[in-house]
C-alpha cells in the first residue's frame, strides 16, 4: 500500500516535471518578443491629397476632382503580408463630414466574400490612388458641397504594426 502511494506520488512528480518542462518550452516558443506583431521603422506611409495635376492641396472647388494617394513603403528586409475578407482592394479611402460617410473609393462596387492575402515585398511599395469624390460605378455621382471634410484611409490587416494614419482635413469652397 505504502509502495503504491510512493509510486503514485513519484508518478505525479514526474508528470508535474514533464508539464513544467513543456510549459517552459511553450513559453519559449511563444515568447512575445519573437511572435508579436512587428513594428518596423523601415516601413513608411504617405497619405496626401492632390489636385488632378498631382500638386499637393487641401482646398478644392465644389465640383472639382482631386486625388487621394496612399503609399505603404516597405524598406525592410521582410515581406509584408496583408489579408482581406473579400476581393476588395487592400486600401479603401473614405470622405466623411461630421462623422458621416459622404463618399468612398469603393462606392458602387461589390466584392466576393472570399478571404485572400497579398504581399508587399522588401523594397516594394503599395501605391493606391483614388480620383475623388466619385467612382465610375457610383450612382448617382455626387458633388461635394462647400464645407470641411475629412479624408481617411482604411488599411487591411497587416502582419506588421504601423502608426495609425491620421485623417487629412480639407476644405471645399
Amino acid at each position: 500500500m505504502n509502495f503504491q502511494k510512493i509510486f503514485l506520488s513519484l508518478n505525479n512528480k514526474i508528470i508535474f516535471l514533464l508539464l513544467l518542462i513543456l510549459n517552459l518550452f511553450s513559453c519559449d516558443v511563444l515568447s512575445p518578443d519573437k511572435n508579436e506583431q512587428k513594428k518596423n521603422s523601415e516601413i513608411k506611409t504617405i497619405f496626401l491629397l492632390t489636385d488632378t495635376t498631382k500638386q499637393i492641396k487641401k482646398t478644392f472647388r465644389s465640383g472639382e476632382e482631386f486625388y487621394m494617394i496612399f503609399q505603404l513603403i516597405n524598406n525592410s528586409n521582410d515581406t509584408i503580408i496583408y489579408t482581406l475578407g473579400s476581393t476588395r482592394p487592400p486600401i479603401i479611402f473614405t470622405i466623411t463630414q461630421a462623422n458621416s460617410i459622404v463618399s468612398t473609393s469603393i462606392d458602387g462596387y461589390i466584392f466576393i466574400d472570399i478571404m485572400k492575402s497579398g504581399k508587399i515585398l522588401p523594397n516594394d511599395t503599395l501605391i493606391t490612388e483614388w480620383k475623388a469624390p466619385n467612382t465610375p460605378a457610383k450612382n448617382p455621382q455626387i458633388v461635394l458641397e462647400p464645407g470641411l471634410y475629412r479624408a481617411n484611409v482604411l488599411l487591411p490587416k497587416l502582419n506588421v504594426k504601423i502608426d495609425s494614419i491620421p485623417p487629412l482635413i480639407f476644405e471645399v469652397f
Binding site: 475578407g85 473579400s86 476581393t87 469603393i106 458602387g108 466574400d113 472570399i114 478571404m115
Partner: protein, 649 residues
C-alpha cells in the same frame, strides 16, 4: 486507468454498433417489403422488390385484367384507380425491368414502372461525399459530419443533408440563381463534369460585360454553384444540397472578383423576371458577396425581388466580426433577405465571419485558418473548409491560394455558408412551391439547431437563430405549411426521428395514404397522380388497411383508433414544448409532469375528453424548472403511458 479506457472503448463500440444496426433496419425494409436498387432512366433508384406500377386503358375489361395477371404471373395488390394505375406483385422471381418491357407490349397497357422508393436515406454515390475512390475520406463534412478525419470535427456539425434527401432532393421547378463569377466553360460549352448538364444549368446573362460571357475565370462561382446544386449521384465528384434543382448562372463578378451594384441590380432583375416569365417556376437567389456600403439601387433590387416572392440568400462577409455587409444587412428591413454567418466543423461561429443583429441563420462555411484574423494573418484552405467544385482549368483564386486545386477544392468563407442555406431554401420550395419568402425565412429560422454554446436562447449576433438543419427545415415545412410531393405513381417516404405533428388545419389530399412505421418512417402514397401532404385541397384521409397491416403506428386520423401520446416537440425544449395525444373514445384524462425524483410538477389535463386528437403546451418557465429530464404521464381509463422530455435552459 486501463479499465476506464477499456470501458470507454467498449461503450463507443457498442454505441456505433447499435447505430449501424438501426441504419441497417432502416434501409432493408419498407412495411415489411424488401428494397432493391436498380438503374432506371439512367438513375440509380430504390424500388420495392417484385412490385410494378401499371397504368391501363380506361376501358379495360375484367378479362383483360385476368389475361394481364396470367401473362405477367403477378397478382393485383392494388386495384386500378380512376386514373388507370394499379399495383402488381410478382408471384415468382423475375427481374422487374424485364417484366416491365414485356407487359408494355400489351395493347391495354399505357405505362409501367417499378414501384419506386424515393430517397431512402439516400446517400449519393459521389466519391468525395462517400469517401470512396478516388477520395480517401468523406470530404463533405458540411453535409454530413460523422467526425470524419480529417478534419475530425463534431458529429452532427452539419446541415443533416442525408435525412433531408430522404424527403426531397429538390426539383427542377426550383431555380437556384447563382449571382457570382460564372460557371466553368471551355470552347463555349459547360466543361466541369459535375456542372455540365445543359438541361440543368441555365446560362443566364453576363451583367459585368467582361467579354467572357458567364465563363468563370475567378473560380468562386463554380464553388458556390457546386455547394448549392452540383450534379449528384452521378458517380463523380461531390454532392450538392438541392441536387435536382436547376441552376441559373448570372455573372456579376469579373475575373478579379470585382462587380458593381449596377450589375447586381441587373442580375436580381433578371432572376426575378425569370420567375415571372416562367409560370410554375420558383427562384432562390444566392449572392455570396457584397460591400460595406450600399446604394439606393440595391434596396430597389431587393424590393423588386420581394414584390415577386423571390428570396435572396446573402453572405454576411468575412471581415472578422465586423458589421454585416450589404445586401445581407437588408435582412433587418426586408424579409426576403436571409443573412448568413459561417460556422465550422465543430458548430462554432468562425473567427472570420461578420456578425450582427441582422444575421438570420448560420451555416457551415469552413474553419478558415488559425489566426486568420490575428497575427500572422495566414490564409490556407484545407480539409476543415468546404469542399466543392472548382473550374477544371486555371482560375484566379489560385494566384493567391495555389493550394485550391482544379476540378474540386476547399474554400472557406461566409460565401460557402450562404449556398448551403440557398440550397435548403430550394429544397423547401420543392415540397411546397407556394411558400412566400418570409415563410421560407421563418422555416429556416425556426428549424435551425440551437446548441448550448450559442447562448441562452436565439437569436444571437453570431448564429442568428442557430445553425442550418435542412432536414428539420423540411419537417417543419410539412408540419406547418404542408408539402406537395410531386411524384407520379410512387411512394414517398418521409423518415422522421420524431413524431410528425401536423397543424390542425392541414389535411391530407384525398386518396392519400399516410402511415408511420414502427421506426417512425412515414410513408405517403397516392394513386391519383400527384402525392400531396398538407395544403388546403385535402378533403379526407384514407388509410389502406392492407398497407398498415405490418405497421405498428398510424398518425392521428379522423377515426382515432388507439390511445396514443406523442413525444413532446420540440425535445429538448426551452422553455415551451407541445405534447400531443389522441383518444379512441371519451374518457377521463389526466396528463401530468413529474421531475426525475417523481415529484409532481404540473397537472396539464384533468377532465373528461371526447375521442379525438389534442395538443397541450407546457412551459418550463411557468413552473420555474431547472434544466434536466422530466417525465409526463397520460392516463385515460385503464391506459397509462409515460414519456421522457428534456428541458435545457
Amino acid at each position: 486507468m486501463r479499465t476506464v479506457i477499456g470501458v470507454l472503448i467498449t461503450l463507443v463500440f457498442v454505441t456505433m454498433t447499435q447505430k449501424a444496426q438501426k441504419m441497417d433496419i432502416k434501409i432493408k425494409k419498407v412495411a415489411g417489403r424488401q428494397i432493391k436498387s436498380i438503374m432506371w432512366n439512367n438513375k440509380n433508384i430504390n424500388i420495392i422488390k417484385g412490385e410494378i406500377a401499371v397504368k391501363v386503358i380506361p376501358s379495360i375489361s375484367n378479362e383483360q385484367i385476368t389475361e394481364l395477371l396470367n401473362y405477367s404471373k403477378c397478382k393485383l395488390i392494388k386495384s386500378f384507380n380512376k386514373l388507370g394505375w394499379g399495383l402488381l406483385k410478382l408471384e415468382k422471381e423475375e427481374d422487374e425491368l424485364i417484366l416491365i418491357s414485356r407487359i408494355k407490349k400489351l395493347p391495354y397497357i399505357l405505362a409501367a414502372e417499378p414501384n419506386m422508393i424515393i430517397h431512402l436515406h439516400f446517400e449519393p454515390n459521389d466519391p468525395y461525399f462517400r469517401g470512396i475512390t478516388p477520395a480517401t475520406y468523406k470530404h463533405q463534412w458540411s453535409l454530413i459530419n460523422i467526425g470524419q478525419s480529417p478534419p475530425g470535427g463534431t458529429i452532427g456539425a452539419d446541415i443533416n443533408a442525408t435525412n433531408a434527401w430522404d424527403i426531397t432532393i429538390g426539383n427542377s421547378d426550383v431555380i437556384l440563381a447563382i449571382l457570382d463569377s460564372g460557371i466553368p466553360m471551355q470552347n463555349g460549352r459547360l466543361s466541369h463534369p459535375d456542372l455540365d448538364d445543359a438541361s440543368k444549368i441555365i446560362l443566364g446573362i453576363d451583367c459585368i460585360n467582361d467579354g467572357e460571357g458567364v465563363r468563370d475565370i475567378y473560380g468562386h462561382g463554380t464553388h458556390v454553384a457546386g455547394i448549392a446544386s452540383a450534379e449528384t449521384n452521378n458517380n463523380l465528384g461531390v454532392a450538392g444540397v438541392s441536387w435536382n434543382s436547376n441552376i441559373l448562372v448570372i455573372q456579376v463578378f469579373d475575373s478579379d472578383g470585382y462587380g458593381t451594384w449596377d450589375a447586381f441590380q441587373d442580375a436580381v432583375e433578371y432572376a426575378v423576371d425569370y420567375k415571372r416569365n416562367n409560370p410554375g417556376k420558383n427562384v432562390i437567389i444566392n449572392f455570396s458577396g457584397g460591400a460595406f456600403y450600399t446604394e439606393q439601387q440595391v434596396e430597389d433590387a431587393i424590393a423588386y425581388a420581394n414584390n415577386y416572392g423571390v428570396t435572396i440568400v446573402a453572405s454576411a462577409g468575412n471581415d472578422c466580426g465586423f458589421n454585416v455587409n450589404y445586401p445581407a444587412a437588408y435582412s433587418s428591413s426586408y424579409n426576403n433577405v436571409i443573412a448568413v454567418s459561417a460556422t465550422d466543423h465543430n458548430n462554432l461561429v468562425t473567427e472570420y465571419s461578420n456578425i450582427g443583429p441582422e444575421i438570420n441563420i448560420s451555416a457551415p462555411g469552413g474553419y478558415g485558418t488559425t489566426n486568420v484574423c490575428v497575427y500572422p494573418f495566414y490564409i490556407y484552405y484545407d480539409y476543415d473548409d468546404v469542399f466543392s467544385t472548382t473550374p477544371n482549368y486555371y482560375f484566379n483564386i489560385q494566384a493567391s491560394n495555389p493550394e485550391v486545386t482544379q476540378n474540386y477544392g476547399y474554400l472557406a468563407g461566409t460565401s460557402m455558408a450562404a449556398p448551403h442555406v440557398a440550397g435548403t431554401a430550394a429544397l423547401i420550395l420543392s415540397i411546397n412551391p407556394n411558400l412566400l419568402p418570409y415563410q421560407i425565412r421563418n422555416i429556416l429560422q425556426n428549424s435551425a439547431d440551437w446548441k448550448p454554446h450559442m447562448g441562452n436562447q436565439p437569436p444571437s449576433d453570431e448564429y442568428g437563430y442557430g445553425r442550418l438543419n435542412a432536414y428539420k427545415a423540411l419537417k417543419y415545412t410539412i408540419e406547418n405549411y404542408g408539402a406537395l410531393l410531386g411524384i407520379e405513381m410512387s411512394q414517398v417516404r418521409i423518415p422522421l426521428w420524431e413524431d410528425l405533428i401536423l397543424r390542425e388545419d392541414i389535411n391530407l389530399a384525398s386518396n392519400t395514404i399516410l402511415t408511420i412505421e414502427a421506426n417512425n418512417l412515414v410513408t405517403v402514397s397516392s394513386y391519383s397522380g400527384i402525392v400531396t401532404l398538407g395544403g388546403t385541397g385535402g378533403l379526407s384521409k384514407i388509410i389502406d388497411e392492407e398497407e398498415i397491416e405490418n405497421l405498428n403506428e398510424s398518425l392521428p386520423l379522423n377515426n382515432y383508433k388507439e390511445f396514443r401520446i406523442s413525444q413532446n416537440y420540440p425535445n429538448p425544449f426551452n422553455p415551451t414544448t407541445v405534447i400531443s395525444y389522441q383518444l379512441p373514445e371519451k374518457n377521463y384524462v389526466t396528463l401530468k409532469v413529474y421531475d426525475i425524483l417523481g415529484r409532481e410538477i404540473a397537472t396539464l389535463v384533468n377532465e373528461y375528453k371526447d375521442a379525438g386528437s389534442y395538443k397541450v403546451e407546457f412551459s418550463a418557465d411557468e413552473y420555474q424548472l431547472a434544466s434536466g429530464i422530466y417525465f409526463y404521464t397520460l392516463k385515460a381509463g385503464k391506459n397509462f403511458i409515460v414519456k421522457k422530455m428534456m428541458f435545457i435552459k
